[in-house]
């Protein structure tokens, strides 16, 4: 900081300031017109909350179960978390933009069905099938964005509609059957290419491919949000839409792009999940939208927009994944697991609200 300040030329030794520059001369007249209040702003103490929670969970489960801290179990958690993590990155952008996408589970299923049908029945190659699946996701996201911005429909309603519509299209496309289907009576015999299976279940030098995909998606998402004009516009639009508009930011375009990225990532998740399950169907990933929203909220994003980040959401997704895995290892019944997961989400949000009020100002 001191270094930087030193480099700023003062009026006397800056040769440029002898030339009457409009900016500098105007500004020089504003000397001291704002009194300085001592910068006694509190550091937001617990901003590392999610990562602390994750570490705590990991430490606890390491003691509670001998199986938890094994390489195979950790890789297993990573595989299981991959879908939610990919979706959470997209959902983060939408939520920071003060939106919400309830269609991601359905869009995932549609994209998965599309690429599975393309590869196993239409005889299209792996590459084309992937493009078709991911493209379908992006297109549905784009359409949601258009409906929301041009049609001035609330995000909640538009994506709820898209959720039903995408499931419907997926059902029509697959005839309600898993793809590939082995019901020879219907003459639907196909298979998925090995590359697709590799995407979902393979590994590179021991690292699961889905883990690599999570890493790539998260880093790209982080780059976009923090280092690009688009990302900064997303924060501005979500933080104060009117100010963003007055400042010349194209709000509609920004929101449409956020939904399109979300759709695209739902497509990616769909392809990965198909590879993992070795099959796609129209009803897969039910509830994935709520899972991704939970991950984003646990990760510290504000549902009213303007705050959040992909690393937080990634941690949120892993908290959910580790918790689910741990409860399984501890033999907690699936019914109780749901209840516990719900309580934890509520608890995190309540805690977060309290933290914001307590430490924000």
């Amino acid at each position: 900081m001191r270094e930087q300040r030193k480099r700023i030329p003062t009026e006397k030794n800056n040769p440029q300031s002898t030339i009457p520059s409009t900016v500098s001369s105007r500004i020089s007249l504003m000397n001291q017109w704002v009194s300085m209040r001592g910068g006694k702003i509190r550091k937001i103490l617990l901003s590392g909350g999610p990562i602390m929670a994750l570490l705590f969970l990991i430490i606890y489960l390491s003691f509670a179960s001998p199986y938890f801290l094994t390489v195979s179990n950790l890789l297993n958690i990573t595989r299981q978390t991959s879908i939610n993590a990919i979706l959470a990155v997209g959902q983060t952008m939408v939520i920071i933009c003060a939106g919400i996408d309830l269609s991601v589970g359905a869009v995932l299923a549609l994209s998965a069905s599309m690429s599975a049908v393309a590869m196993s029945y239409w005889g299209l190659s792996f590459g084309v099938g992937i493009l078709l699946g991911v493209g379908t996701g992006a297109l549905t996201g784009f359409i949601s964005g258009i409906i929301i911005t041009k049609g001035k429909i609330p995000d909640f309603i538009a994506t709820l509609g898209m959720m039903a519509a995408a499931r419907g299209i997926a059902l029509i496309l697959t005839g309600g059957l898993p793809v590939p289907s082995h019901f020879t009576a219907l003459k639907l015999v196909g298979y998925l290419p090995p590359e697709l299976i590799w995407l979902g279940s393979g590994d590179v030098w021991g690292v699961p491919v889905p883990a690599l995909i999570i890493a790539a998606v998260t880093i790209l998402g982080w780059m976009v949000l923090t280092h690009t004009t688009l990302g900064r516009a997303i924060y501005a639009v979500g933080g104060n839409r009117e100010a963003a508009r007055f400042s010349g930011i194209n709000i509609e375009r920004t929101r449409i792009i956020a939904y399109t990225i979300m759709g695209l990532l739902a497509g990616v998740a769909g392809v990965v999940l198909t590879g993992r399950l070795n099959s796609a169907n129209a009803l897969m990933a039910e509830g994935a939208e709520l899972q991704s929203i939970s991950a984003v909220v646990i990760g510290g994003a504000n549902l009213f927009g303007g705050e959040g980040g992909v690393f937080g959401s990634l941690i949120g997704a892993f908290i959910m994944g580790v918790l689910g895995n741990g409860l399984n290892l501890l033999n907690v019944s699936a019914f109780w697991q749901r209840l516990i997961m719900g309580l934890i989400i509520i608890g995190v949000v309540v805690f977060d609200q309290w933290r914001r009020r307590r430490f924000a100002t």
Binding site: I8, N31, W33, G38, G39, T229, G239, R245, F246
Partner: protein
């Protein structure tokens, strides 16, 4: 450029020059509310034009039409004699019109640097923000403004009212527009801060950019302006050269008791 020539020809005698900005017969309706009804406005080069009127008179709506926030329902906008449409805030900014809104238009959760460059960040490789340069320029701007803010990374919601207003005005100054619009720029400021803003207005005028300023404080208006336009109930009810009027007359125009 027209402006500069007129400036050199050197007149405060605004009536003899061409207006740099002209609004004719502007109407703006919000549902049943007639916010503006057949309003004319002309801004001459190198003048400080004050826009006064009671709350709800339509002042903010009028400047938002110039700022591209609203489209007029009727009427036309001319810049340097040419009729144009200002379809968006971006279009207005591109025309060199810099506006400080009454609402300040800051994004509370973003930091000082991002708010200074809101909507037009410095970029590198086209898509990426050039944070380093923005930080350096912000430090420069704040230093010259003598606004000391604990940290540039501080979300602006943690700043005082005065600091926020300073930031909003400073942002406009930093871009040195061809026309500057200030909607209640001193509303949140203390005595000393207000004095600085008024001095700043005079300084901008000296540099040749015409200004439209809205304020409720008629003493401030009489201090800095050359001409005063009065709105009442969405209509323009008077325009006075400052030297030919007094506070009393303006008050009467505002309240409609003239």
């Amino acid at each position: 450029m027209v402006t500069n020539k007129l400036l050199k020809a050197g007149g405060d005698i605004t009536s003899k020059s061409e207006p740099i900005l002209e609004l004719r017969g502007i109407c703006k309706y919000f549902g049943g509310v007639h916010a503006l009804e057949d309003v004319d406005l002309e801004l001459y080069p190198n003048e400080v034009l004050a826009l006064v009127g009671d709350n709800g008179a339509g002042k903010s709506t009028l400047i938002k039409i110039i700022a591209g926030v609203y489209q007029p329902d009727k009427g036309e906008v001319l810049i340097e004699g040419k009729e144009i449409e200002i379809r968006s805030p971006r279009a207005s900014m591109d025309l060199g019109i810099e506006t400080v809104y009454q609402e300040l238009a800051l994004v509370d959760k973003l930091d000082v640097v991002e708010n200074i460059f809101l909507g037009r960040p410095l970029t590198k490789f086209r898509w990426f923000v050039n944070r380093k340069r923005m930080v350096a320029e912000t430090i420069d701007i704040l230093k010259r403004l003598k606004i000391s803010i604990p940290s540039l990374k501080e979300p602006v919601q943690n700043l005082s009212g005065g600091q926020r207003q300073a930031l909003a005005v400073g942002r406009t100054i930093a871009w040195s527009g061809k026309i500057v619009i200030l909607d209640e720029p001193t509303a949140a400021l203390g005595v000393e801060e207000t004095r600085k803003v008024l001095a700043l207005i005079k300084q901008i005028k000296e540099e040749g950019a015409p200004i439209i300023v809205i304020s409720h404080n008629l003493r401030h208006i009489f201090d800095v302006s050359d001409r005063i336009i009065v709105l009442r109930g969405g209509r323009r009810v008077g325009s006075r050269i400052k030297s030919e009027t007094n506070i009393d007359e303006i008050v009467k125009l505002i309240t409609g008791s003239l």
